[in-house]
């Protein structure tokens, strides 16, 4: 009887373990993860990217709609090709990287979840925090779950990968970044492209 109970407990525990959501770490050892940004003003177009992306996302392959997570971008890692523009962008006149060192998106809810094979698309509602202002945003995301692919990306590490792609637009005026000023050179709309991969080691 005792042996049967032990076996039953083991079966239940293994089932729980299989169903448990996976935690993915988005600190990328290969340095590919990035958040691109584009400002297309009438007189000037500014293109740049940020490489300091990190955070964690909890993803359940059996229930992608329950995904939760927080992705952070280091403000100081934002780069544009012109050194003077870069200095201005990070200064207290614009992003004030010294006072606001991070840009954060924290998900709250997944809606319109559609899964085909390893790919899930959804509209994610969450809190976007930039320059000390937090706003609720809903952004489209595409999640691709790559089971047992971590070893192909990072040698000697077994596990899964989760790729997140998202394109969305914010307004700098919503985040108190010189609202209504210099819009002929620095557009109010900022197009953001997020391309990141996270790893869940086994």
């Amino acid at each position: 009887m005792k042996a049967k109970l032990t076996i039953l407990a083991l079966i239940i525990m293994s089932g729980v373990a299989l169903a448990a959501p996976l935690k993915f770490d988005f600190k990328d050892p290969k340095g590919i993860n990035n958040a691109g940004f584009k400002l297309d003003a009438p007189l000037e177009s500014i293109n740049g990217s940020a490489s300091g992306v990190y955070g964690t996302v909890t993803f359940d392959p059996e229930n992608p709609g329950a995904t939760k997570g927080k992705i952070t971008v280091s403000t100081a890692s934002l780069i544009v090709p012109n050194p003077m523009q870069n200095k201005h962008m990070l200064s207290d006149k614009w992003l004030d990287a010294a006072t606001h060192p991070t840009i954060v998106f924290e998900s709250k809810e997944f809606k319109n979840v559609q899964t085909t094979g390893d790919t899930t698309t959804a509209d994610v509602t969450g809190t976007f925090a930039l320059k000390g202002v937090s706003k609720e945003l809903t952004v489209p995301v595409k999640l691709t779950y790559l089971k047992d692919k971590l070893a192909e990306r990072v040698p000697n590490q077994k596990g899964d990968l989760l790729v997140i792609r998202s394109n969305f637009t914010i307004k700098r005026s919503d985040f108190n970044i010189n609202p209504g000023q210099f819009e002929d050179k620095v557009s109010d709309a900022i197009e953001i492209t997020l391309s990141i991969a996270g790893a869940s080691s086994k």
Partner: protein, 83 residues
């Protein structure tokens, strides 16, 4: 001296335009780094690697034009060399 200053001004303009054109005729601001796209084969993600490279822009041309203008302006006030 007068002639030398004007020749230097001309060389400065022509040289700056030639360098700007040879470097890709960038109509934006001068860049000191350029993005290079890299693709991760496993995930298919497209990343950006920044490479240090000087790409002159319109501000570079403007500075060259200003420099040439100053030299040409000075040359006006330089007395012609007597033979």
């Amino acid at each position: 001296m007068k002639r030398t200053l004007r020749i230097i001004a001309l060389v400065l303009i022509v040289g700056a335009i030639a360098f700007w054109a040879a470097a890709g005729a960038n109509r934006g601001w001068t860049k000191t780094r350029v993005p290079k796209k890299v693709v991760d084969e496993v995930t298919g993600l497209e990343g950006v690697q920044w490479q240090d490279r000087f790409v002159p822009g319109v501000d570079f041309l403007g500075a060259a034009l200003l420099g040439a203008g100053i030299l040409a302006g000075i040359s006006i006030f330089v007395p012609a060399q007597s033979k």
